[in-house]
């Protein structure tokens, strides 16, 4: 594959950003649900 460093960097970066965002939202949802149950 030519220019593999750019192609792989783009795909990995996109996956990492979207995965991190999804995990952060899931974490905040779980925390908010736990707080809601506790109050």
């Amino acid at each position: 594959m030519t220019n593999a460093e750019y192609v792989i960097a783009g795909w990995v970066l996109t996956g990492a950003v979207l995965l991190a965002y999804w995990l952060r939202i899931q974490q905040r949802i779980r925390r908010a649900e736990r707080l809601e149950r506790d109050t």
Binding site: M1, V7, W11, V17, A32, T39
Partner: protein, 260 residues
């Protein structure tokens, strides 16, 4: 409270995961390399869908904001959808710029150019970062929703400017490939399939993440409301105690003066 039923949201999440894996297989191996740009063109299968989702997200924010501003349709649902969609739009616009830069380096020889498409897209990113900052400024829910709805409608003006920038000005960025002025796509075969599949996969991802982000907004609004109610109740209880003490003190004094 969610936009989608929990079972549909879960199914959508799995469908999105499958679609993204299939996109990666086609984007990295299934589609042939471009005859001019070689494999660097494989970034198009992420760059174009990310830009499409940014347009879609800001469009949803603008429509939701207009629905909030219209008195007959005003609902906190639209304010939350506007905020959630703008956040997603910012993420996808950021990805569009970074992916474009990674694509531009091997093809143009530069990471960045002061080109109309690039600059207007960067302006779009900063406009909606400002919108998100505005959402975090403390205010009553109605005041915040109103000022954010107006800001969202103003910011959306940049979306058609970004899209038509390659037509209106001479740019280093290539002309539209799919949504050409004649609506005649300049891409065919497996490459076209992969590009359209990328748009589908990212659209599924957008709808799924919007539902999740909306759910979070509802939970956080509920918690804020409860905290406020609790704080008011504590304040009232505290004030009630001091009110009860004072009359008792006075009650001891007043009869002593009045009774004789």
């Amino acid at each position: 409270m969610t936009l989608l039923k929990p079972a549909i949201s879960r199914a959508l999440g799995w469908a999105t995961l499958v679609a993204v894996v299939v996109l990666a297989l086609f984007g990295l191996w299934g589609a042939p390399p471009d005859s001019v740009q070689g494999d660097a063109q494989r970034l198009m299968y992420l760059h174009v869908p990310a830009a499409w989702i940014a347009y879609l997200a800001f469009g949803v924010t603008a429509i939701s904001s207009a629905l909030w501003l219209w008195p007959r349709t005003r609902s906190e649902v639209y304010d939350r959808v506007a905020g959630a969609s703008a956040e997603l739009g910012v993420i996808f616009t950021g990805l569009t710029l970074v992916l474009g830069s990674l694509w531009g380096r091997p093809v143009w020889g530069v990471w960045w150019a002061w080109d109309a498409r690039l600059v207007t897209t960067a302006v779009l990113l900063f406009l909606y970062l400002g919108y998100l900052a505005l959402r975090s400024v403390p205010a009553s829910p109605d005041a915040r929703a109103k000022r954010c709805a107006i800001a969202a409608l103003i910011a959306f003006v940049d979306v058609p400017i970004v899209h038509f920038s390659v037509t209106w000005w001479r740019t280093l960025h290539q002309q539209a490939t799919v949504f050409t002025p004649e609506l005649k796509a300049n891409i065919h075969g497996v490459m076209a399939f992969t590009l359209w599949f990328g748009v589908l996969a990212f659209t599924l991802l957008y709808v799924y993440l919007l539902d999740r982000r909306y759910r979070l907004a509802v939970l956080e609004d509920d918690l804020d409301e409860r905290e406020l109610e609790q704080a008011i109740a504590e304040r009232v209880a505290g004030a009630g105690t001091s009110v009860r003490v004072s009359p008792d003190d006075d009650a001891d004094k007043v009869p002593a003066k009045v009774t004789p």
